[in-house]
């Protein structure tokens, strides 16, 4: 009798285990939530993977609007949020094997070229982008393109700015408005360190935001005209020398997490240990969501330049949202994507919900949208971000994203920047080693 019960128990547990294995491959771990946006019974369920939790909030708003306007083509969105590396790796395997990929996915700019290698397993979006082409910044669409085909829909311009904690600056009697060059920044930083013992900014080791800014100011890039990597260029040495000098003068210091956009760094900024972050504008959403203690203390300004007259901004980061070839209703996914990210309404919501600088630059001039006193970003920051953005409008440079970009990022962010800012290795030597490593990896 006992034996029989044992067999039943084993059979039951095996069945349960098998059921476990048979779960939908589309959730793939991570946090999943279903957004119905008021959809009715006959709605098509689309799955969407992202690595930024906040992106889901934007889609939630646009989904409601889509379902209302398209009663016969309603959508339910299955949103899965996964960590950055994890999501890109899983997506890469899924699209290339043709099994388990979501219908829509976010791909970060730095990873995008990997998805364009060979024959992209993504759907060209030209037809749905075309109606909006004249209203959006061309270079942001080109970032996610290959051979004239657009595979990703951009989210923002990502203009780089400086975020100053004025509370700390006031303690040292520093006015951020007077900072125009890196030399001004250095003098201000020395004063801040002497008066408060706090650092003016971060020396980033796990991201290339700052390096990109300094390259863009000099009209340079990580790759040459032929898209070949040139990370040991004169401009690169000059840029990093400036940053290293700032670190040696106690103006910059490395930060836990390696750069301002990490959990550890949010904690450090929130605690008021660093006065400045140089980041693309989307960092605003990190302030409102993860650094609430700093509300009302942060001012936005152009980043310092090497010499007056140099361009003061560069488009940083970006997310291309794609439709995979295995999507269950490709046309529906494409139409929804264009509606959710490129329509005028979408561009307004991208600002309202995410605090990003929309790719439809007409929005930048809509005072009722950009200066809406109910907007959380308008309330959080001391000055209006669009006042700064409009001042920089003609100066936003572009750093190319090429097939070598993922390798360049990997070498610089894991090895080179750490060697320079953590170990004090000679800059030229470290960059030469990086160049050799990158060439070796790309062979």
């Amino acid at each position: 009798m006992k034996q029989r019960w044992f067999i039943v128990l084993v059979a039951m547990s095996m069945t349960l285990a098998l059921f476990g294995c048979g779960q939908s491959p589309k959730s793939m771990g991570g946090q999943t939530s279903v957004l119905d946006g008021g959809a009715g019974e006959g709605a098509t369920e689309l799955s969407y993977w992202t690595f930024v939790e906040l992106h889901g909030q934007h889609f939630e708003k646009m989904l409601g609007k889509w379902n209302e306007a398209n009663q016969d083509r309603q959508i339910k969105l299955n949103v899965t949020v996964m960590p950055y590396d994890d999501m890109h790796n899983k997506l890469s395997i899924a699209v290339q094997t043709g099994v388990g990929a979501p219908d829509i996915a976010d791909i970060e700019l730095g990873k995008f070229p990997d998805f364009l290698a060979g024959t992209p397993q993504l759907v060209p979006l030209n037809d749905v982008i075309d109606p909006y082409r004249d209203t959006i910044v061309k270079s942001r669409v080109d970032l996610y393109s290959k051979d004239g085909q657009n595979y990703g829909v951009p989210t923002h311009v990502g203009a780089s700015v400086a975020f100053y904690n004025t509370e700390i600056l006031e303690q040292a009697d520093v006015d951020y408005k007077t900072i125009e060059t890196w030399e001004d920044f250095k003098q201000a930083g020395i004063k801040v360190y002497e008066a408060t013992g706090k650092y003016m900014g971060t020396a980033d080791t796990s991201a290339t935001w700052q390096t990109s800014m300094l390259l863009a100011q000099q009209g340079s890039d990580f790759t040459d005209e032929a898209s070949k990597p040139v990370v040991n260029s004169e401009q690169m040495v000059k840029g990093l020398t400036i940053l290293k000098d700032l670190q040696d003068s106690n103006v910059l210091s490395t930060i836990a997490g390696g750069q301002p956009d990490t959990e550890e760094a949010y904690g450090e900024f929130n605690a008021g240990n660093y006065a400045t972050a140089f980041m693309p504008l989307w960092q605003m959403s990190r302030y409102t969501n993860y650094m609430k203690d700093l509300s009302g203390k942060i001012a936005i300004a152009p980043i310092p330049v090497i010499e007056k007259g140099m361009p003061r901004s560069v488009g940083g980061g970006g997310t291309g949202t794609v439709v995979t070839k295995t999507a269950k209703d490709i046309q529906l996914a494409k139409d929804f994507l264009a509606f959710a990210k490129l329509s005028l309404d979408a561009n307004k919501e991208i600002w309202n919900t995410l605090g990003f600088d929309p790719v439809n630059m007409d929005v930048w001039d809509m005072k009722d949208v950009t200066h809406n006193p109910d907007n959380q970003f308008v309330q959080y920051f001391q000055n209006n971000p669009f006042d700064v953005l409009n001042e920089l409008k003609g100066e936003i440079q572009l750093i190319k994203s090429t097939s070598a970009t993922p390798t360049i990022n990997n070498v610089l962010c894991t090895v080179t920047l750490n060697e320079i800012f953590e170990d004090g290795r000679d800059i030229k030597e470290a960059l030469d080693a990086a160049q050799a490593q990158i060439e070796q990896e790309l062979k």
């Binding site: 290698a117 060979g118 390696g258 090895v415 953590e422 070796q440 990896e441």
Partner: protein, 297 residues
């Protein structure tokens, strides 16, 4: 007929080992052969594969990051062997002692970490060894007047964290192996030794250690393999496969980076074959030295 077949003394053994043979063929021989073939190709998922001869191996030989990964894995293996063989053995002997108080409590508490998921354990260790002043280890160091240490950014300190995690996690498991081995040593040997006036140390070195040899060789073999194949611990500790200056990159981590992150499966297969070769050479040498291949007398 079937009954006769199954009850046959000649057939039965084959039927019993068949599941193992099948698993071995499907999950070991086939993937191994396939990886070997792949290591001579350029393969990107979703694209046409092409034969490239030895070029993956040639590239591997000049690859500094691969060398770094091999060194890291080898150092990790040696350090874990140095910690995870003597200490569990010692603890097993202590716990096995008749006069030991609270034996079961120690047994279960040592074993408990092995039941915890590596993902959870790795995350907790990452927070413990965080570089901020408030992280656990740094607050402890602060009591002794030592400033905050950036544990996960330095080679030595990074390995301190990595080996601590391995020690915490595997001490109990290895201890159980040794305890099982100790149960096979008859008490009479110790009694006889006591009558002859042997000290505790003599008993340990002359009776316990030699008779534990088969267990030790087993633990050594699996520890060599586990050390060289370590991946998730490092991935969790550094919150991804990209540790600063690759201080935590292991051979499997590099295989993952090339195969999965960079979609360069042929090159990754070559990394896997080299890993297999290294593991086999070390383990076979070790087994040969310890006399495992000699016929039992």
């Amino acid at each position: 007929m079937i009954k006769k077949f199954l009850y046959s003394q000649k057939v039965a053994p084959y039927v019993f080992v068949l599941p193992f043979i099948l698993v071995f063929l499907f999950f070991w021989v086939y993937p191994l052969g396939s990886s070997f073939g792949m290591s001579f190709q350029k393969i990107q998922l979703g694209q046409e594969a092409s034969w490239v001869g030895f070029s993956n191996y040639e590239k591997l030989m000049g690859d500094g990051v691969f060398l770094k990964a091999v060194t890291n894995s080898a150092v990790y293996m040696v350090l874990t062997l140095a910690v995870l063989i003597p200490f569990p053995m010692l603890f097993a002997v202590l716990i096995n002692n008749k006069f030991m108080w609270g034996r079961d409590f120690f047994k279960s508490s040592f074993f408990f970490p092995a039941l915890t998921s590596v993902v959870v354990a790795g995350t907790i260790f990452r927070l413990m060894f965080g570089e901020m002043e408030g992280s656990l280890i740094n607050s402890v160091l602060a009591w002794f007047g030592i400033g905050p240490v950036k544990f996960l950014k330095g080679q030595v300190t990074g390995f301190v964290a990595l080996v601590s995690l391995a020690t915490w996690r595997w001490t109990g498991v290895n201890m159980l192996y040794f305890l099982a081995g100790l149960k096979n040593i008859p008490d009479e040997y110790y009694e006889a030794a006591s009558i002859d006036g042997a000290s505790s140390l003599q008993k340990f070195t002359r009776i316990t250690m030699p008779l534990l040899k088969p267990t030790t060789i087993y633990v050594l073999t699996i520890s060599i393999y586990a050390g060289l194949a370590m991946f998730i611990e490092s991935m969790m500790l550094w919150n991804g496969n990209n540790s600063p200056k690759n201080i935590g990159l292991t051979i499997v981590g590099y295989l993952y980076r090339q195969g999965i992150e960079k979609n360069n499966l042929g090159y990754a297969a070559a990394v896997g074959i080299v890993l297999l070769a290294i593991t086999m050479v070390i383990n076979l040498t070790q087994l040969a030295f310890s006399g495992m291949f000699k016929k039992e007398e």
